[in-house]
């Protein structure tokens, strides 16, 4: 690109778009091929660089978009072309996709860097020589898949990324594939990964069906073609768009952990903390929100679908928030918080507040990544402290569980307390994330959440109520967490001896913290930078009118007050009178069985086991063992077909024959049949007169027939 051109017409780097996928792929290939001979740092650096380069590309694309806001489509190759079906590998550059690229590339790079330190420090799992290579290959693969997801120019390419990130999620959740979350040998982590993948596949099923419907209605799955024709189709084929959008919602529910498919996300915390931050908080899980935002021209055509989406989001937001209140694991709280926040976003895009939803997506990526990574820092700190306390010195272990009979859970908040002293940096980082999430003015979360609430109050009051209560709970459980973890007295010697994390981990966190604090500036009321930015994408389709969220002071004040009250209550319960070890949760006293429900995630997992999984396993076993094998294979094919055939041949036509087990087919022949065969005996008796009789009878029958005829 000649400089003069850039000056005159603005930069045009659209052609670089495919590199958002190529860089991470190159990175992972380098690590696959040479990773075995490279050190930990080198592997991490290669991966981080690859990720960083995608961010650079994303920045260049932003610059280009500022000059050419209409964006571009960069075709790469033809993919599937059968008859009417034409699907290309093509990259779409517009403000919406580039926003996602920025988030993925930016937050992704920071987490990559963090992970270099974290993976080294994840002391429980040390001495797995391949872990760095494996981890960063998967991580880069994730970036590549996520980039495909956000940059695809058609639904199928989006689906490629969609399933690709699911795969990475599977691999990374089960990263410590032979352990459980506490480091004991177990299949649990792998199980959690599988649960995530399969739950996601259920969502993907919806996505696929939506795709099929779309193809047969529009004869295309390319975004522009579909969106342009949407109006026409909505008029001619009633219900078609509704069906497409609702099936798509199933996909959204899977990927973005909405009711009824949210169950995988809490279990996904089995993965290393950077994974939770990157995949299960900042990026992958927001894919569903992106999908709805991307499909806005479809959703806006069918209010019924919009209402459903919004309701699903609202209910999920509240439901998950209640569960978060009852959790003890530091990451589980954040996991349910994520589900809840995703509910906010889904509700927003469902209502048609696409900007608000996307805005919250971005800010949430900042502060939730920050919270997860800080939580990881806390866990590692506690872990180090535990080590220190147990041995008084650092030595390398093969495995923690072997050393201690009593299993120590470094993620359990009931073991923590007073850690603001031992881990001050982490404390401040965590706190900035918390206030952002709780929606305290003027942190990022305040602006984005408030925009959603404001829109909801105008568009869908039911959802507004749900979300407002959810926001209250959000502030409450975050407050609870802060008090339990960082204030009061250490409830375990591990917390007492906790140590601060190294800069390679904390520095990226500081960047994220800064973003969490200042992120609201992206779309300040009245300025609306982000709104205008996204408008470029949405205005293309004259059919849809983008909502310009109005700042609503009442709503803002209400929610701020709610948040402060919630934090206050949490202080009353957890902060004022710090708990001691072994003491039951104060809420339990107050809420009783309701809290038990929260603690046990409202038994949703158990419900699914009882209603879906166990029946499937039982049916599968029954089909396999009884129907297919015993009935169909052994009984019908072997006994009925083969057996009766032999029985027939022996019983009626032959005398005794000692049939030794040449043929397995005869195995089915029961003893009783043999007896019968002997009793009835054969015709071939060896007596010549019987033979003559047979001839004679033949003659008589034939002649009889001929004469009577």
């Amino acid at each position: 690109m000649v400089l003069s051109e850039i000056v005159t017409s603005g930069p045009d780097f659209f052609y670089l778009a495919p590199w958002v996928v190529f860089f991470p792929v190159i990175g992972l290939l380098i690590n696959i091929i040479f990773g075995g001979r490279m050190g930990e740092k080198a592997i991490g650096t290669v991966a981080s660089t690859a990720s960083g380069l995608t961010f650079v590309v994303a920045v260049l694309l932003v610059l280009s978009l500022r000059a050419h806001p209409e964006g571009a489509t960069i075709p790469l190759a033809e993919w599937i072309a059968i008859g009417d079906l034409q699907i290309d590998w093509a990259f779409r550059v517009d403000t919406l996709s580039v926003t996602m690229m920025m988030v993925v590339g930016g937050v992704g790079t920071l987490i990559h860097i963090y992970a270099i330190g974290y993976m080294h420090e994840d002391v429980r799992y040390k001495n797995d020589p391949g872990r760095y290579q494996r981890f960063f290959v998967f991580f880069n693969l994730f970036i590549a898949a996520m980039m495909i997801l956000v940059s695809g120019d058609n639904y199928l390419m989006l689906f490629v990324g969609w399933e690709g990130v699911g795969l990475c999620s599977y691999l990374l959740i089960g990263f410590w594939y032979d352990k459980d979350t506490l480091g004991r040998y177990s299949i649990d982590n792998a199980q959690a990964g599988k649960k995530a993948f399969i739950t996601n596949r259920i969502g993907d099923f919806g996505f696929l069906i939506a795709g099929f419907l779309m193809f047969w209605a529009f004869k295309s799955v390319q975004f522009d073609t579909v969106f342009e024709a949407a109006h026409h189709i909505a008029e001619t084929q009633t219900g078609m768009i509704l069906a497409i959008t609702l099936f798509m919602l199933l996909g959204v529910a899977g990927k973005s952990a909405q009711i009824p498919l949210f169950v995988w996300l809490p279990d996904a915390m089995a993965g290393p903390t950077p994974v939770s931050a990157l995949i299960h908080a900042a990026t992958m899980v927001t894919a569903g929100v992106y999908l709805v935002a991307r499909s806005a021209p479809l959703y806006t055509l069918v209010p019924a679908a919009q209402g459903t989406v919004a309701l699903v989001g609202g209910i999920t937001a509240l439901f998950a928030a209640t569960i978060a209140v009852g959790q003890y694991d530091i990451k589980k709280v954040l996991a349910y918080s994520t589900i809840s926040q995703l509910g906010f976003m889904v509700a927003a895009v469902g209502m048609g507040a696409f900007v608000a939803g996307m805005f919250h997506l971005v800010t949430h990526a900042f502060f939730k990544a920050l919270l997860f990574l800080s939580a990881g820092s806390v866990i590692l700190g506690v872990e180090r402290g535990h080590h220190h306390a147990a041995h008084g010195h650092h030595d390398e272990h093969d495995d923690h569980a072997h050393d201690h009979e009593e299993v120590f859970d470094p993620g359990d908040m009931r073991n923590m307390g007073g850690m603001r002293k031992t881990m001050p940096v982490t404390f401040w980082l965590y706190l900035s994330g918390t206030v952002a999430l709780a929606g305290i003015f003027p942190f990022a979360g305040f602006w984005s959440k408030d925009e959603i609430l404001a829109e909801a109050s105008a568009l869908n009051f039911t959802v507004y109520i749900l979300l407002a209560i959810a926001a209250f709970f959000t502030a409450f459980y975050m407050g609870r967490q802060i008090w339990m973890v960082f204030f009061g007295e250490p409830k375990h010697e591990a917390a007492e001896h906790a140590e601060e994390s190294p800069p390679v981990m904390t520095v990226p966190l500081m960047v994220l913290a800064a973003l969490s604090i200042l992120g609201g500036a992206l779309n300040l009321p009245g300025v609306g930078t982000f709104t205008h930015w996204l408008e470029h994408t949405y205005d293309k389709f004259s059919a849809m009118h983008l909502h310009h969220g109005e700042f609503n002071l009442t709503v803002a004040i209400t929610s701020t007050v709610l948040a402060l009250v919630a934090i206050g209550i949490s202080w009353m319960l957890y902060g004022r009178k710090p708990q001691t070890q072994g003491q039951p949760d104060p809420l339990k006293r107050i809420l009783g069985p309701i809290f038990t429900g929260m603690e046990n995630k409202w038994w949703i997992d158990e419900l699914y086991w009882a209603v879906i999984l166990n029946p499937y396993i039982v049916i599968a076993r029954f089909t396999a063992d009884v129907i297919d094998w015993r009935f169909w294979h052994d009984w019908f094919h072997d006994k009925v077909i083969a057996g009766s055939f032999q029985w027939f041949s022996r019983t009626f036509l032959d005398s005794w024959v000692d049939q030794r087990g040449i043929d397995g087919f005869a195995n089915g022949l029961a003893e009783g049949t043999k007896e019968l065969a002997q009793r009835l005996s054969g015709i071939q008796t060896g007596f010549v007169r019987n033979y003559a009789l047979s001839v004679f009878i033949g003659v008589v029958v034939i002649l009889g027939y001929l004469i009577l005829q």
Binding site: D654, S655, W656, V657, G682, Q684, T685, G686, F687, V688, R689, A692, L693, F696
Partner: protein
């Protein structure tokens, strides 16, 4: 003159007697004699038909049958004798080691 059907009827009866003899008797020689009876029943029919049709070929056939029967007798008796040497019996029911 007797009608032709009488001769044919007689031959049919003789033939049936022969066939039944084969089925009923156990002595190989008697079975063989019964077969001869069947052949001779056929001969009777031949002669009768030859007369009815005034065709000579029927009577020629009779000669052939008689010749062949003689040949069969030679072979048959030889076989029976060999078996008798071996088993001291010509009861066909004792010759049932081959079966199944």
């Amino acid at each position: 003159m007797l009608p032709i059907s009488y001769y044919v009827g007689l031959s049919a009866i003789l033939f049936s007697i022969g066939a039944l003899g084969v089925l009923i008797r156990r002595n190989a020689i008697i079975i063989f004699m019964s077969i001869e009876l069947m052949l001779n029943a056929a001969n009777l029919a031949f002669v009768a038909f030859a007369r009815a049709h005034e065709a000579l070929s029927g009577q020629v056939f009779v000669f052939f049958v008689m010749t062949v029967a003689a040949a069969e007798v030679a072979v048959g008796l030889a076989l029976i004798v060999t078996i008798f040497r071996n088993k001291q019996s010509i009861d066909v029911d004792q010759m049932s080691s081959l079966k199944g």
